[in-house]
Symmetry: C2
């Protein structure tokens, strides 16, 4: 609301470092005359604002007048469009884009359909083109950072490098033969090499991805933790997602999945726990105490009728909660904007409270919340001087953006992934006016179409 | 799936009337080389199909080859895009577009916020420009028919005429002063004149819109029914939407809202009952027995945390159920495509069954279901020879449309309102390649922006 913005203008001098003297400072990129939504601690908004970028970082954020202190080879005039931090997808399987729309509305999909299908067809080619197409969709939808778990994760990393996207990318470890390893737990060997190969990449953070508490046994979970500690890398895992998982762990260990993981030492700052649908109040306290990140995948969770994770309660208790799309065979689309309305509305429904999960908190979850869930809140998630320059521009002339009474309400209840015009990752303009500059989307689409014909033939057999 | 389309090709000769002789027949418009989703009784699909239009009606639907039998001044080559029946929005308040995003996440909105706001600011100008902008958004999103309830409904009717949209438009009747009538129940007089003025319009069907069982007393509900019978017009009403409505009617009459309306003779083929969130199994049987149409407004209902209407159960019991957006102050957006995913996923969640509400049935609800809910299934809702030509084209090169394994899954779980390229209503091309031809959307937007500034000033007072 205008009042908010005006009230916050007094905070401006604290938010950007003025140049040391009156001389013009060099910058790489300026985005100006934007409706800037910072998502900083005070939720500052500049109705006519600017973001100045240098060496991949934000050097200044404030009213448009600040741009005068900088010279830049490129300036984007946003003409009143919304400029905000890039969205963060805290849980996905981008390569599965090749399977989007296959086997929807089918029971017991994971064991009866997805695992056998993956075993049959997933190879380097599918992983690469699926991830590249998925990342193109994500960037078109304003996602600038992802946490991804799959097989051949080095191929996913190559896609991130190619398209210019930031990601924590986890190689899957599980107790069965997998597309990229013949032996049970063969993912360990794969993961170790993958982590060595990519650990110094400026965009990619390699990680271990033990599939779930029901597909990785206690012994191997302990090994994951030990090796992740030694290599100082994150751990991505599905947690408290399946009714059968809850039941079996209760039967075998008399614990909740979250208590069980804690007993093995897995709950830590390293962990991004996807789903946590079945999290009790004491589980939530544990997640908070251990500083675990949680990926809330609303669309995927309700499409499979599993339930609604207590994300609103977690958020209010200070748990690190971000939003995730899950893979496109579960949630079908890979943009976070499409999740915002679901999170706001289904949390209201589940909490029997129309004031639960207000729009401003949903946008927080999609940006700073995601950064916290990935333990990267010092680097991404808001527009603040010193942070990495992950910035998106949304078209305010889009039909559903008028009227424009409250930007958070507009983003959550009315905006669409198609409204994203421009995406900047680490200071580099990856998409401008919906044109992705680093890959040819039509070419990638043709590859995916070709693969989908092969997949359909394989499914038919 | 391709198999389905191939299997159904044998039904082709029954689906279009061949020209009487081999001479070429005149037509007004041909849409060809389309992926045609007919939504007829056998769910026929033509992967390379055509739709032939003359005098506002569909004269032939079938494989692209049928187009050779017709000559037409205009042919649209859909290049493989999806061609399907226009979507039907069975419950909306299009004029409220001017209020979109105002007062979201606020308790007791209807009585404490919306009614006072409407009383203060709603006039002919707001109703006209709000409805015109709302209709532009609807057409951009593939909606070709609406059921609308508001004040100054003649202005809404003028918008429908101006933009070229089909609608059942109901003038509101309620027990309090309203923006267009100083006296309680003054809407009656307004409605009578409105119905006389528009009853012969080719696109507009005027109707009575008694607001709800809790805002129109028994005596006046009986008068509505009597007059609607005499004038042979539909009745649009909010039914079984509010917890307080259920409680009060239970207390005063020991009935459910639906039983109460039945006791007054209000349940009939004339009625389109919006919401029906609180419908018991016996209520559902009543709705079915009385041939009532039901508008299921999933997004609006869950955003207000009211609950999930048993729409899947109703659909399975053969109740006439269509989908609705509700007004943009409740649901924020006015396209039906944006509702599809919510209906599919939240019905699965509410029914604890991932196989509930499969995609094909959701698309049915949005098209033929909507036609049935409005008791217009003989004229709209599917692509069949003899029906009115309400046809939309969706872009298959849109990123989320690849891969394309199942068209219903793609439409429900992956498509977006932005994918609609072309909209034809009663044979007239209203939008082509996203360009609305009957109004200037930027001009209408400027009017709405101006009004939103006035509204904000009024709210501030």
């Amino acid at each position: 609301m205008p009042d908010r913005a005006i009230a916050l203008l007094c905070a401006v001098p604290l938010l950007f470092a003025a140049p040391a003297n009156s001389a013009v400072q060099p910058a790489d990129l300026i985005v100006t005359h934007a409706y800037v939504v910072t998502m900083n601690a005070s939720k500052a908004i500049y109705e006519d604002g600017a973001v100045v970028i240098k060496d991949g970082h934000i050097v200044a954020v404030g009213p448009a007048a600040i741009a005068a202190a900088y010279s830049s080879p490129k300036t984007i005039d946003a003409s009143g469009d919304i400029v905000m931090p890039g969205m963060i997808d805290t849980h996905t399987h981008a390569s599965m884009t090749v399977f989007r729309g296959l086997g929807d509305d089918v029971p017991d999909r994971l064991q009866r359909f997805i695992f056998p299908l993956e075993h049959k067809v997933v190879d380097r080619e599918i992983v690469y083109w699926g991830a590249l197409y998925g990342m193109a969709e994500m960037i078109q939808g304003g996602v600038t950072t992802i946490a991804d778990m799959y097989y051949f994760e080095d191929e996913v990393a190559r896609c991130a490098q190619k398209i210019g996207m930031r990601g924590i990318l986890g190689e899957t470890v599980l107790n069965a033969p997998a597309p990229d390893s013949k032996e049970p737990y063969g993912g360990f060997e794969y993961a170790r090499k993958f982590i060595q190969d990519f650990r110094r990449d400026p965009l990619v953070t390699p990680a271990f991805a033990p599939h779930a508490p029901y597909t990785v046994d206690a012994e191997h979970l302990r090994i994951v933790q030990k090796e992740a500690d030694a290599l100082d890398v994150p751990i991505l895992m599905h947690v408290a997602e399946m009714p059968s998982e809850v039941e079996d762990i209760r039967k075998n260990f008399n614990k909740t999945p979250i208590e069980y993981l804690d007993s093995l030492g897995l709950l830590s700052r390293r962990l991004v726990a996807a789903h946590c649908i079945f999290a009790s109040d004491s589980d939530i306290a544990l997640l908070k105490a251990r500083d675990v990140g949680v990926a809330h995948n609303m669309v995927s969770n309700i499409k499979s009728a599993k339930g609604v994770a207590p994300a609103w309660r977690m958020f209010n208790q200070g748990v690190r909660v971000g939003l995730g799309t899950d893979g496109p065979m579960s949630g079908n689309t890979l943009d976070i904007i499409g999740q915002l309305g679901y999170v706001a509305k289904v949390q209201k429904l589940a909490n029997h409270d129309r004031n639960a999960m207000p729009a401003i908190d949903v946008v927080e979850m999609a940006t700073m919340g995601g950064a916290r869930a990935l333990h990267m809140e010092d680097r991404i998630g808001s527009l603040e001087a010193g942070k990495l320059a992950d910035v998106i521009v949304l078209d305010r002339s889009s039909t559903t953006m008028t009227p424009f009474y409250d930007v958070y309400s507009t983003l959550v209840y009315a905006a669409s992934a198609h409204d994203v015009r421009t995406a900047i990752i680490q200071g580099r303009v990856i998409m401008e006016d919906r044109d992705i500059k680093t890959v040819s989307v039509p070419e990638v689409r043709e590859h995916v179409r070709g693969l989908s014909r092969k997949i359909l033939a394989a499914v038919g057999q």
